[in-house]
Structure formats: structure tokens, C-alpha cells
């Protein structure tokens, strides 16, 4: 299974970005490069958004149009709307977002290690354990400081 990640042909093109061929069975069968194997993926993303756009256009085109001033007001359970929604909101959401960025970047660091773990061996494993201990220390500090407190 790990043969997947070995290069057969290490010749890079002049841009040097992922155009070389792996010994992945699928790529060999189709005789395509890694970059070309992403083409259907990109196609599906575009296709998904086109379908969603068609839904949006149909919704605006087919729906009835009997607009009145009352319908156009902001919904507030039948009461007169008070002010706007463009107000300041609780700082706790902001704290969660900042913590998320820190931890998410650390998760991203773990992915390449996890995939290549058996080849990287003991040294990489110990370094990753040290990294995880620092990560947990950070989490402990944040909880003790009350950074994730919701009352």
C-alpha cells in the first residue's frame, strides 16, 4: 500500500508542481498525471455550483410576485422591528474563532505525519508527542484562564 507514495518517474516539468507521475494504479491505468486526476474534482465543484445557481434562478423566476411594504419588513415575531441586527455581539464567539484558528493549524500539521507515520519512524513519533504535549498544555491554560467559559 505504501508503494503509492514512491515516485516512478521523478522528472519534473519546468513548473515543478505535481505534474510527475506516481505509481498509483489509477494514474497508470489512465496514463495521466496527478494534476490531471484532479480535473473531474474541479469539474464537480463547478457543476455543483451551477446546479445551485439554477435552483436560485428558478426560485426567483417562478415564484409569485405580490410584494407589499409589510412583507418587506424584517421579521420579528410580528412586532415592529427594533433597531438593526448590525450590532456588537458577545466576545465569546470571537474567542472561539481565535482558538479554532490556533488548533486547526496544529491539526493540519498532524495530517502529513499521520499519513507517513510508518516510514518516518520513532524520531518523528517522539517529536509529535512533544508537539501534542505542548498543544494540550495550551488547551489547559486556555480552559484555566476562562477562555472557553460560557455562562
Amino acid at each position: 500500500m505504501h508503494i503509492n507514495h514512491l515516485f516512478i518517474n521523478q522528472k519534473l516539468d519546468k513548473f515543478g508542481i505535481g505534474l510527475y507521475r506516481y505509481s498509483n494504479n489509477y494514474l497508470l491505468e489512465k496514463n495521466i498525471t496527478v494534476l490531471e486526476s484532479y480535473l473531474p474534482l474541479i469539474f464537480m465543484v463547478v457543476f455543483g455550483f451551477v446546479v445551485a445557481l439554477i435552483f436560485l434562478i428558478l426560485s426567483e423566476w417562478l415564484g409569485a410576485r405580490r410584494s407589499t411594504a409589510g412583507k418587506k419588513t424584517t421579521y420579528e415575531s410580528g412586532m415592529e422591528p427594533v433597531g438593526t441586527a448590525r450590532e456588537r455581539f458577545s466576545i465569546k464567539f470571537y474567542m472561539v474563532a481565535v482558538s479554532f484558528i490556533v488548533f486547526d493549524i496544529e491539526v493540519v500539521f498532524m495530517y502529513p505525519w499521520a499519513v507517513q507515520m510508518s516510514q518516518l519512524g520513532l524520531t518523528a513519533f517522539i517529536s509529535m508527542m512533544v508537539f501534542i504535549i505542548i498543544l494540550l498544555a495550551g488547551l489547559y491554560y486556555e480552559i484555566k484562564k476562562g477562555g472557553l467559559k460560557w455562562d
Binding site: 500500500m1 505504501h2 503509492n4 445551485a52 412583507k71 424584517t74 474563532a97
Partner: protein, 344 residues
């Protein structure tokens, strides 16, 4: 290169089939949800349109299309339109990497069941796309310029990004064992009864709980807690724009079920030999049916949980995500790592 042209044609034909499959799966899930909830609550549920009410979802779609599309004057028109497109577009695009069965071989060419199931970043792609879908909900909440929507959107984004961490971390245990990000490769390694759930039980439970939170389903449906927030982020949406969020929600539920089945429950691999040759159409169809049966099981599980478990309070939800699931997911990585280091 003509080969690339054929790849795109193949992808186009498959994409049409998959979109039809997703939309009908979403419609059937809505029907199943209404019927199952009715059974649980000792009601009848929709039973008037067609036999057993089976045509109800189709009637609903037509109704939504012809409903007036009301947009409040205070809303930001551009982003208000963009939000449902992001939600539904991403919900469809995620299916690009999901393998529905292995392949059929016609005239020496292998046709794989899926748009790009062999791409070497499959698992990462699904995680990335589900992160983008947070934008749809956040933008919907903000652009409506309605306080209910804003709170629904804020809650939802905070919840989704919190549980994304434990979701991503719980998958690392599987990656350490399989050593690949390609979904077809992960499925191939789970032949027989060698399902990842048996070697990663803790990771599976963390992933399951996180996927409930990611899809905004009960017990984590605070973004649209009806008694407090009316409809949450979609309060100011009507007509098919509302329907798009609705479809996306059910498509995401199906995606989460498919993802669980692929990563932890052997995907399309049939655990016993049924005597059909590799590459034959019959075998591919049996694999597809087997995969679909497992996905339907998990969709029904999602529905069952929704109508059985009450909603969390917001501080409980945040505590569970940050103080329980996140350390547990890291513990899972350490245990798996030590195990692999000692026993190879």
C-alpha cells in the same frame, strides 16, 4: 490530449447521475424523517399524496418553487442570494470523491463508481469542503439583517468550527493505520470484516458525535432552536431559497452517513465471497446496494436520534466539544501511535 477530454465526458455523465441521486436521496430522507418521527410520536405523518404519502416530497418541491420569494428590505441582496448557493453547491460538490462501488470493466477500460474516488486527497477534500459550508450558514445569518438570523448564524459557525477540530483529529487515528488519504484506498484496505471501527472504536464515537454537530442535527440543532430563534439562520428565507438550505441539510446528512460508512464500516467492500468476477456489472451493483444499505442505516440512525434526544444547552455544547471530545481525540492519536510503534 484526447484522454483528458474523455475523462471530462465521463465525469459529466457521472455528475448528472450523482446529482439526481443526491436530490432524490434528500427528498426520500425528508419523507423518511416525517414518517419515522410520526411513528415515534404515535402520529400518522404524511399519508395523503400518493400511496403512503410517497409523493409528498415531490409536492413539497413544486410548492416551494411556486412560493413567493420574499426578501426583506434591510437585507444585503448579494450575500442573501449567495448564501443558499454556497450551501447547496458545496453539498453537491462533496460527492466528487465518494466511491459508490469499485469499478466495472468494459472493453479493457475500467469505469469507477464515483467522479474521482481515486484522487489522493479524498478525505482532506471532504473536510475542506465541509469547512467551506460554514460560510453559507454564516453569510445567511449575517446578510438577513435580522436578529434571530444573526444569532443563529453566529451559534452555528461557532459550533461547526469547534466540532471540526475533534472531527479532524478523530480521523488522524484512521490515517495512521491506513497511511493514505484516498477514499477508495481506505475502503480497499478494509476487506472482509477488517472494518476500521474495530481498531478505532474511540475515534469512531468522537467522529459520530462531531458529525451530528457538523450537520446541525439534534441534539446539536441550536442554530435553529425554534422556541428561541424562530428558524435560526434561515428565518428570512422563503420559497426555494429556503428549500435549498433544506436540501443541503439532508444532503449533508447523507454525506456524513456515507463518510462514516467509507472510513469506518468498509464502504462498498462485501465481507464474503459471492462468486462474481471483479469488474463485472453484477458485482458492482451488489457492492452499490451493500454500500447504500449501510448509508440508509446511518441516515435512519440520524433520524432516530433526532426524535429521541433533547437539545443541549449552549454552554454544554461548547464544553462537550472543547473539554471532552478534543482531549479524547488527542488521546486516541496517542494510543494509536504507541500501539503502532510497539506492535508495528
Amino acid at each position: 490530449m484526447p484522454e483528458i477530454g474523455w475523462i471530462l465526458v465521463e465525469a459529466g455523465v457521472k455528475a448528472v447521475f450523482i446529482v439526481i441521486l443526491i436530490l432524490s436521496a434528500a427528498a426520500v430522507s425528508v419523507y423518511a424523517e416525517r414518517r419515522v418521527s410520526a411513528i415515534i410520536q404515535l402520529r400518522l405523518g404524511p399519508n395523503r399524496v400518493g400511496p403512503f404519502g410517497l409523493l409528498q416530497p415531490i409536492a413539497d418541491v413544486f410548492k416551494l418553487f411556486w412560493k413567493e420569494d420574499v426578501v426583506p428590505k434591510a437585507a444585503d441582496m448579494g450575500f442573501h442570494r449567495l448564501a443558499p448557493v454556497i450551501s447547496l453547491g458545496i453539498a453537491i460538490a462533496v460527492y466528487a470523491v465518494i466511491p459508490f462501488a469499485h469499478y466495472i470493466e468494459i472493453g479493457g477500460t475500467k469505469y469507477y463508481f464515483g467522479i474521482a474516488p481515486n484522487v489522493n486527497i479524498g478525505l482532506l477534500y471532504i473536510l475542506a469542503m465541509t469547512s467551506v459550508s460554514v460560510y453559507g450558514i454564516t453569510l445567511a445569518g449575517w446578510s438577513s439583517n435580522n436578529k434571530y438570523s444573526l444569532f443563529g448564524g453566529l451559534r452555528s459557525s461557532a459550533q461547526m468550527i469547534s466540532y471540526e477540530l475533534s472531527m479532524g483529529l478523530s480521523l488522524i487515528g484512521v490515517l495512521m493505520i491506513t497511511g493514505t488519504l484516498s477514499l477508495n484506498e481506505i475502503v480497499l484496505q478494509q476487506s472482509g470484516w477488517g472494518w476500521n471501527v474495530f481498531v478505532q472504536p474511540l475515534g469512531f464515537i468522537i467522529f459520530l458525535v462531531s458529525s451530528f454537530a457538523e450537520t446541525n442535527r439534534t441534539p446539536f440543532d441550536l442554530p435553529e432552536a425554534e422556541p428561541e430563534l424562530v428558524g435560526g439562520f434561515n428565518t428570512e428565507y422563503s420559497g426555494m431559497k429556503f428549500g435549498m438550505f433544506f436540501l443541503a441539510e439532508y444532503a449533508n446528512m447523507a454525506t456524513a452517513s456515507a463518510f462514516i460508512v467509507l472510513v469506518y464500516f468498509g464502504g462498498w467492500q462485501i465481507p464474503f465471497d459471492i462468486g462474481l468476477g471483479a469488474g463485472s456489472i453484477a458485482l458492482a451493483l451488489v457492492q452499490f446496494a451493500w454500500f447504500l444499505a449501510k448509508v440508509i442505516f446511518f441516515i435512519l440512525f440520524f433520524i432516530w436520534v433526532r426524535w429521541t434526544v433533547p437539545r443541549f444547552r449552549y454552554d454544554q455544547l461548547m464544553n462537550l466539544g472543547w473539554k471532552v471530545l478534543l482531549p479524547l481525540a488527542i488521546l486516541n492519536i496517542v494510543i494509536t501511535g504507541v500501539w503502532i510503534m510497539i506492535f508495528g
